[in-house]
Symmetry: C2
């Protein structure tokens, strides 16, 4: 409660999954304690950055004693809401949508892909990795009936905003957007964009900067 | 030359594709000039942020006169290296790898997906959207012979580092990593990570923070 109100910056939130992932791997290896110095070396961040980030949530670990790996992993998981299960639907059962349905890792992490929706008659009725593809017209009712938490937009750019609107109207509070479009939603709906083209542009920038340099 | 040496921060680089994308859309609509105020409103950034970012590259636009849309778009494209074409190969022809091969937008933006590599005999020999799937053993020679620019890692986590090593050894200077693994490369090789699970964790954080708040 107090935590959400303290308004933690998005940049901090974005580093938490990385901490969590690394700590989960250490825990699996049986590592029980880790110093902020070693953690920082392994993650390529400064120790003070890590301490600052964790202090946003009250701080963990004791001076000179490091962090308890399982405790910190569990606490970060709790902060990230990973103790819950989430229900997801995907708008768009094209290549990206289907690739996401096949990604087995999501289920292990608590994310259940319930169904996909499309307008392509060839795709409707198919079952992809246990999730059925329905007609897009059925999405609104499905979201309501199943109290879906997360809506994935894997539809064409032109359909993205309309799809987002339908998701929000029916109670979805988190959107994972793969369409190359800027989506507008009410403030309480969080949109997480995965912009594959932008990511390629960044690679192209570094290739060119490299070439100029050498 | 001077630019690459001035060492522009990664956070600035990451905003450039967004500017470029937005300006390209404006240009298509026939918009010729835009004020930094309007640009900032449309992008959801402060005008001073935008001015600061563009100043890293010498600055554009004139006080009180705004930016020329086609000029700024072209200049950003040049900075991002988008006037070049890039050759890409994909390690891993599973669902993610194939979804990337099918993504038509990349070709239009100058990125040519030449081939994919896998160890799965069922996939080897297939042609996916004009790109052939070869055995992973053929990757090294293919990279050398075709002077490939960008290597995509869409292989399982355990194979990721080894795949990256083979790419770097054969001359690749940019890696687009979709595997949920931290990859280590020499400094001059840029790695761009697409971490789908981390992105889902961020959504789960905001869902939980929201729930706590209301």
């Amino acid at each position: 409660m107090g935590m959400a109100e303290r308004k933690i910056s998005d940049a901090v939130i974005r580093r938490l999954p990385r901490y969590h992932r690394h700590l989960a791997a250490l825990e699996k290896e049986g590592v029980e304690r880790i110093s902020s110095r070693r953690l920082s070396a392994e993650l390529g961040l400064t120790a003070s950055q890590i301490r600052q980030d964790l202090n946003c949530f009250g701080g963990f670990g004791q001076q000179g004693y490091g962090y308890s790996v399982p405790e910190l992993r569990r606490e970060l998981g709790r902060i990230l809401g990973l103790q819950e299960r989430y229900k997801i639907i995907i708008a768009g059962a094209g290549h990206i949508g289907r690739a996401l349905l096949y990604y087995a890792g999501f289920k292990d992490e608590g994310f259940d892909m319930l169904a996909a929706f499309d307008v392509d008659e060839e795709l409707i009725g198919q079952t992809v990795n246990d999730a059925r593809v329905y007609h897009m017209d059925e999405m609104a009712v499905f979201i309501k009936n199943n109290q879906v938490d997360i809506g994935v937009i894997a539809s064409p750019r032109q359909a993205a905003q309309q799809t987002a609107d339908a998701m929000v109207e029916n109670g979805i509070r988190a959107i994972w957007n793969f369409a190359p479009a800027d989506i507008h939603t009410p403030e309480q709906v969080h949109v997480e964009n995965v912009r594959l083209s932008d990511s390629l542009c960044v690679l192209s920038y570094y290739l060119q900067a490299n070439r100029d340099e050498y």
